[in-house]
């Protein structure tokens, strides 16, 4: 089954990519006061349902998918 992990930069860390995109959007005429860019990672693993999958996926996320110094993550069920 597929599970998603959303990785976002911590608010206290300067997100230069987000800032660059926001500047570009403003230059293009859109009113955007901030932009943060993260990652959406989809894993296909062996599990019966989302709650049984969570333990495994957390372990994978903590192994490499996010760096706790600069990012946070959330799990999301893919229906």
């Amino acid at each position: 089954m597929k599970v998603a992990i959303k990785v976002l930069p911590r608010r206290e860390v300067l997100d230069t990519q987000g800032r660059a995109v926001q500047s570009s959007l403003v230059e293009s005429g859109f009113e955007v006061s901030s932009c943060t860019i993260g990652k959406y990672i989809v894993l296909d693993i062996d599990a019966e349902n989302f709650s049984k999958a969570q333990g495994k996926v957390k372990e994978i996320a903590e192994h490499v998918l996010y760096n706790p110094l600069i990012e946070t993550y959330e799990l999301e069920e893919i229906k």
């Binding site: 860390v13 230069t16 990519q17 660059a20 490499v64 760096n67 110094l69 600069i70």
Partner: protein
């Protein structure tokens, strides 16, 4: 005779420059493949060279930090073997928790390729024993993700334990506290973004980098 171990990941591209350094100082060397463990006692020091390992995918240095060879690198670090991470190597050591902090995208989002004025900060590492505290040198940088970041708590620890090894005189990338290189608590592991191996001879521009390897 013990050798200099030069780690190679997929995408490492400064490995041969390090072997040139070893040849220059008549040090036997051996390449260490990312998928293999190695016998720590066979090596007098380990170098993680620069490059774009794993294409900087996911986060720069993140995938390399979880490669098999890092179990041996970690063992070497814990046993006090000198370990040097240059540029991508520094990024990998941080991701592997062998050094504190992390390297982020340069503040101006540009890949910066230029000589930098640096200052030696007075950490206790064999890699800098040929340099004195406060000494100024020039080394080239060539990176897109060189902005050193750590929380205030970590920075305070680095300051208290003399773990800040090198600082930029004109911070090119937004690194916290102008940090260009740090060591671990015991000082045997050094990571830095600049390339000492690219400052070995006068014809390269400057030869300030020799001291990093001469002591071996």
């Amino acid at each position: 005779m013990k050798k200099l171990g030069i780690v190679r990941f997929l995408g490492t591209n400064c490995d041969r420059d390090i072997s040139q350094v070893a040849s220059e100082f008549k040090i036997p060397y051996e390449y260490l493949w990312y998928q293999d463990l190695f016998n720590v006692s066979d090596y007098l020091a380990i170098v993680l060279p620069g490059g774009f390992s794993y294409g900087d995918y996911l986060r720069t240095g993140a995938l390399s930090a979880r490669a098999k060879v890092m179990e041996s690198v970690s063992e070497a670090a814990k046993k006090g073997v000198p370990v040097l991470g240059i540029c991508n190597g520094f990024q990998i050591l941080c991701e592997a928790d062998l050094l504190p902090g992390v390297l982020l995208r340069n503040q101006n989002l540009k890949f910066i390729d230029q000589w930098e004025n640096l200052e030696v900060s007075g950490s206790k590492t064999p890699w800098l024993e040929k340099y004195s505290k406060g000494e100024k040198l020039k080394l080239p940088i060539a990176h897109g993700d060189g902005r050193y970041y750590a929380t205030d708590e970590i920075i305070k620890e680095l300051q208290d334990n003399s773990q800040i090894a090198l600082t930029y005189s004109n911070n090119p990338n937004g690194s916290s506290y102008d940090i260009a290189g740090v060591t671990n608590r015991s000082g045997n592991v050094l990571g830095l973004m600049p390339h000492p191996e690219r400052a070995l001879y006068g014809w390269m521009g400057h030869d300030f980098g020799r001291g990093f390897f001469e002591w071996l």
